[in-house]
């Protein structure tokens, strides 16, 4: 029993070491908040560890990502924060260090609905296929296609590529 628990712990630790950065980045893009991303990644990984006996190691990242995405959906729908103790002043982020692309994408994403943003992040950052995105969100492939199409159409209205080397 002790040997099994050690192997389980080691497997999970290896998984966290390899996946935490990826999950944190996905969570940050989905929520726009480092604090929220921290909380959601923590809970997603905790739930993944709780279910570790049933999760295949090769599917663990997809499982954790699915839990993470559902936690963001839950949070959005539920809108009930857990009361926190008084907090310290949040860390400042140096917005001026952001690239032009990141800045523009951040503004573009601001105009999307929460569902459209989730789909765009999963498709263009996490590189999920339409079918994988559909399974992650619990919706049909057709819905992914149509929502993605609307999202891109909305983004296209905001994005005008530079022509002849000059900024638009």
């Amino acid at each position: 029993m002790f040997g099994q628990r050690s192997r389980r712990t080691q497997e999970f630790t290896t998984f966290v070491d390899s996946s935490a950065r990826y999950l944190a980045r996905t969570a940050y893009l989905l929520t726009g908040s480092q604090d929220l991303a921290d909380d959601l990644v923590q809970e997603a990984l905790t739930r993944t560890y709780a279910a570790w006996d049933r999760v295949r190691v090769q599917d663990a990242t997809a499982y954790a990502r699915r839990v993470l995405v559902n936690l963001t959906i839950d949070r959005h729908r539920r809108s009930e924060p857990v009361p926190l103790e008084w907090s310290d002043r949040p860390d400042a982020v140096d917005a001026h260090a952001r690239s032009d692309d990141a800045d523009e994408v951040a503004r573009m994403l601001a105009g999307l609905t929460p569902r459209q943003r989730r789909i765009v992040v999963l498709r263009y950052f996490d590189d999920l296929t339409e079918a994988q995105t559909a399974e992650c969100l619990g919706i049909s492939v057709g819905t992914v296609k149509s929502a993605c199409s609307r999202a891109l159409a909305s983004l296209r209205e905001q994005y005008t590529p530079a022509t002849n080397g000059e900024p638009s």
């Binding site: 980045r25 940050y28 709780a50 279910a51 539920r78 926190l84 917005a95 952001r98 891109l152 296209r156």
Partner: protein, 345 residues
């Protein structure tokens, strides 16, 4: 891949570089181990350990409180002076959040709040507003930027939007609790869905286990213990719907019993909870759960029987739509024995 999609990929990658990782595997493993031990022994953990585990996994481990309908107890008067300023981020609908700062000052009888809002990453204008009320009383107000600030004279366990809150406004709200001062702060940003912007009303689970709201309303409530967790269901006469503490998780699929009077919510995919209410007059109720699901059954003061089913696992797939409850048997008001098998639609 067109130019827009290329820009999306590059921009998302750059944007993601701003994130940091604050996870330690040992913390995750330790929290789950503590929770598993609690279940094996069947005893509640001491409050500190339970709070640490609950914060990570979402369980709420409370000492049993009698639930009665009473207003929140008046807090002790705040000592004169400054309270620690509080900061709230509102990233909803945008990735460039606004930072709301709430500074508070008490002179012993009056609590004054100074609220400022500015884009967190700079640029844009800062808006300011003031709000004040009596120490030990609930008060709230609307401030510039569609901001609503409320003070609850209790270090609440949890706060939610009240039953019957108008749906003409969507609220994104956060709360903070100061146990030492015995008060809670709720800051909400309203997003009108039409032309009106209503003031939010809140209901909370107080530090004494009593459910109260900002209007002094009377609530019917039922407390069930399932999976070592206290689960409270509350409702109010004349208001359609009900609430729960902790809040019922998102319902991914709703069981529709083809017009019968049983309603069962939740229990699918990554949702690990199911809640149901039986028809009026139902008695001798037996709820049969699926494997690794615990059920608790109780009767509200209006005579209606409710059940809560909670799984000790999280389903691996959103497409797992099996109910947590296999069947519900009861004797109906006419004396007939009925068995209902939930199906998902």
């Amino acid at each position: 891949m067109n130019a827009l999609e290329e820009k999306l990929r590059a921009g998302l990658t750059d944007l993601a570089e701003e994130s940091a990782v604050h996870v330690q595997p040992d913390d995750l493993i330790g929290s789950v181990t503590v929770l598993a031990r609690r279940r094996r022994t069947g005893r509640l953990l001491i409050a500190a350990a339970a709070a640490a585990a609950a914060g990570l996994i979402g369980w709420t481990a409370l000492s049993p409180h009698p639930v009665t309908v009473q207003p929140s107890p008046a807090a002790s008067p705040l000592a004169p002076g400054e309270l620690t300023p509080q900061f709230f981020r509102f990233p909803y609908q945008n990735l460039t959040p606004d930072l709301v700062t709430v500074a508070m000052h008490s002179d012993g009888s009056t609590l004054r709040l100074s609220v400022s809002t500015r884009p967190e990453y700079g640029g844009g204008d800062t808006t300011n507003g003031e709000l004040s009320g009596s120490v030990g009383s609930y008060f709230s107000g609307k401030l510039p930027g569609n901001l609503f600030v409320a003070v609850i004279p209790d270090a609440v366990e949890s706060v939610q939007l009240n039953l019957g809150t108008e749906n003409a406004t969507a609220y994104d709200y956060r709360s903070r609790v100061d146990k030492a001062a015995g008060l809670s702060l709720v800051v909400a940003r309203g997003y009108p869905l039409g032309t009106s912007l209503g003031t939010p009303s809140y209901v909370w689970l107080g530090s004494n286990g009593v459910i109260s709201d900002d209007k002094g309303s009377a609530f019917d409530s039922l407390t069930l213990t399932v999976n070592d967790t206290l689960f409270r269901i509350y409702q109010r006469a004349g208001i359609e719907g009900f609430g729960t503490f902790p809040a019922t998780r998102t319902v991914n699929h709703v069981v529709d019993p083809d017009g019968s009077e049983i309603a069962v919510w939740g229990g699918t995919g990554n949702t690990d909870q199911s809640l149901g209410r039986l028809p009026a007059g139902a008695r001798d109720v037996t709820v049969t759960p699926r494997k690794r699901v615990e059920v608790a059954v109780g009767t509200m003061s209006d005579g209606r029987t409710w059940f809560v089913a909670t799984a000790d696992y999280t389903s691996a797939s959103n497409l797992d739509i099996r109910p947590l409850v296999r069947s519900i048997s009861y004797t109906d008001a006419a004396g007939k024995r009925v068995t209902y098998v939930p199906t998902m639609k």
